[in-house]
């Protein structure tokens, strides 16, 4: 009966044009539609699969502005049981270390956590570091970039795919797992799930509620800051290869020159 916490993040929809605000180079949240990050849908799905196999409870945890409730609702409508939402203006511009500290403090508020599941990286920040930092802060083993997760009693087994092959990881619970794209296909919420989600409890906490001070988090004390950003260059015209009987060779030479083969 594992007690699972899933980390979810609201991000700008990859279907819309995403930009940074002109002033402090943080995410311009008004410029794009906000959605639950797709990798988090997979994290929620994995938690639900574990719950369905061996019961337990799934708590969704999100750090983000007030409108992140929409992403939380989506996770609840998929079938998670309850949620914690850390929302505080002081968090504006928080970096990965600060975010992980806040997450660790919030996880401390949940009784008897067995497993923390996260996506391996977000589609907006793409730092890919939060799950590992969080595991260090919690003192839990970290099993990152999972493509398969098996929970057996108090043990967890994970398959991690790397360019060299599959790494098999094993640890005792509690642990932190981050999942990759191949882990599963997330379910759609059902209409009933959407209706039920409206009645599920969402606890909203501030930084102070977590025993942290506002000057430990946020842009002013962040270890990393975005100094400059430039828009993606327009797509260049492709390179044409005229086939004079040696087209295949020329294509292969091009691919070699680009280190693609």
């Amino acid at each position: 009966m594992p007690n699972i916490v899933v980390l979810v993040k609201q991000v700008p929809d990859t279907y819309s044009e995403r930009k940074l605000s002109d002033g402090d180079k943080t995410l311009d949240r008004d410029s794009a539609d906000a959605v639950l990050d797709e990798i988090n849908e997979r994290a929620v799905e994995e938690a639900l699969l574990i719950k369905e196999a061996s019961e337990g409870e799934v708590t969704v945890l999100s750090v983000g502005p007030d409108r992140a409730t929409e992403a939380i609702r989506k996770a609840l409508s998929m079938g998670a049981d309850k949620a914690i939402h850390v929302s505080d203006a002081a968090l504006h511009g928080a970096d990965v270390i600060q975010t992980a500290k806040v997450l660790a403090a919030a996880i401390g508020k949940v009784d008897g956590v067995d497993l923390v599941i996260a996506g391996n990286e977000s589609t907006d920040g793409v730092a890919g570091a939060v799950p590992a930092i969080l595991a260090e802060l919690l003192g839990y083993p970290q099993l990152t970039h999972a493509r398969k997760v098996t929970v057996e009693g108090s043990a967890i087994k994970v398959e991690r795919e790397t360019s060299d092959g599959i790494t098999h990881l094993e640890a005792n619970l509690p642990a932190v797992v981050s999942v990759g794209e191949k882990i599963n296909e997330p379910r759609y919420p059902s209409f009933k799930g959407i209706m039920a989600a409206k009645k599920k409890p969402v606890e909203t906490l501030t930084v102070a509620d977590l025993g942290l001070s506002a000057d430990e988090v946020g842009l002013a004390s962040a270890w990393t800051q975005v100094l400059e950003a430039s828009p993606k260059p327009p797509r260049q015209a492709g390179q044409k290869v005229a086939d004079e009987g040696d087209g295949g060779v020329k294509v292969a030479e091009y691919l070699v020159s680009q280190k693609l083969i």
């Binding site: 379910r187 759609y188 919420p189 059902s190 209409f191 009933k192 799930g193 959407i194 209706m195």
Partner: protein, 380 residues
């Protein structure tokens, strides 16, 4: 650009958001391929079922969504915009549940409705026969009581989901008393003696299967009679009044898809150094298309709101079916015109939309029959 909708509450908005996500990510990307290969999208219907979209207008106690027609029809419209065969299939499935939900006994409803609305099963509706189309009361498939069964013989025609459905809400003749000799049977697809003929080779909706269903001494248990003997035609006509609203919504969704495609093309296609949308000849054409889509939507929603409030809506339902399907035919034809030669090729979806639009003026009561219904209501 998705249709701009006025919805009654946030639950409806959430439902439409879910529908759009599924339509955009799961239906639209595979529609053209299924239609081209005449492949029935059974798996996609299962997805709609798991998402709770196959029982929307029915009571929650049987596993339905308990949403008003005003909302259900807009879900249907969005599905049809993404993929017409799925829209029509959803409408037909919803109609196949109608007789049981409205005229079944509590025992029958508790026994069969949860499966029908729960999403695992797909239904069909069998009224027409080859010589009994508009003149439905002339149907001759006969059910003769024999002990605890009806023995059914005859051939139903133009059955959407024929051969793939799990059950058939079937109108049969139980006496020679004309329109009063028709009864409704809920026929399980696995009934011995029930077979599907080869699928019809259709002009459009090629992803959806349409067949004759042949009853050859098919024994249907008598406890599958829905409503009393002789009530079949009344049940059928009552089903159709609601089913027509479904087709009106599908037609509007198809017209919306054609409009979206035409506008997108007209914005990017340049001739004489300008996007063609800036030429008045096309401006007026596109404006008329948009007016047809918006007025079609308003017309079916008015009928739906009357139904939701328990007011008579037979006339409004027929008006909506007539107006929306004629709008779909016009808008899809004009969309091909906007795309020019490109629109006439299968590289673009508008020629398919145009082929799909035609049947809307024919089935669920031809538009000539709709005019008869409207005129009869006027003469009352």
């Amino acid at each position: 650009m998705p249709a701009d909708r006025l919805l009654p509450d946030s639950d409806a908005a959430d439902l439409l958001a879910l529908t759009r996500e599924i339509a955009r990510d799961e239906l639209a990307p595979v529609a053209a391929e299924h239609e081209e290969q005449a492949r029935f999208p059974r798996e996609q219907f299962r997805l709609l079922g798991r998402s709770g979209l196959l029982g929307l207008p029915y009571d929650e106690k049987w596993g339905g969504g308990n949403v008003p027609y005003e909302v259900y029809l807009q879900v249907l419209e969005e599905i049809a915009t993404a993929w017409m065969s799925m829209g029509v299939g959803l409408s037909v499935h919803t109609m196949s549940c109608y007789a049981l939900a409205e005229y079944g006994t509590t025992e029958q409803q508790e026994r069969w409705l949860p499966d029908a609305l729960g999403g695992d099963l797909l239904g069909a509706y069998a009224l027409s026969e080859s010589h009994a189309g508009s003149d439905a009361a002339a149907l001759s498939t006969r059910a003769v009581r024999d002990g605890d069964d009806y023995v059914v013989n005859g051939t139903k025609a133009w059955i959407t989901h024929g051969g793939v459905a799990d059950y058939y809400t079937t109108m049969v003749r139980t006496s020679d008393d004309g329109g009063r000799g028709i009864s409704t049977l809920l026929v399980d697809a696995s009934t011995p003696g029930l077979t599907a003929a080869a699928p019809e080779k259709k002009m459009g909706l090629t992803g959806s299967t349409t067949t004759q269903m042949i009853f050859d001494d098919a024994r249907v248990p008598a406890d599958r009679l829905i409503g009393p003997e002789g009530a079949g035609l009344k049940i059928a006509l009552s089903s159709l009044a609601s089913g027509r609203l479904g087709i009106a919504a599908c037609a509007t969704g198809l017209a919306q898809a054609a409009l979206d495609e035409a506008v997108a093309y007209a914005k990017t296609r340049t001739q004489f150094g300008k996007p063609i949308i800036s030429f008045q000849g096309l401006e007026f054409l596109l404006a008329d298309m948009a007016a047809a889509v918006d007025s079609a939507r308003a017309t079916y929603l008015d009928a739906a709101r009357r139904r939701d409030r328990g007011l008579p809506f037979v006339r409004q339902s027929s008006v909506a079916k007539l107006v929306c399907t004629d709008a779909a035919m016009k808008v899809t034809t004009d969309a091909v015109q906007v795309l020019g030669g490109a629109g006439y090729t299968r590289d673009f979806p508008v020629e398919r939309y145009m082929r799909e639009a035609k049947v809307l003026q024919i089935f669920e009561g031809t538009n000539q029959i709709q005019r008869m219904v409207i005129a009869r209501e006027l003469a009352k």
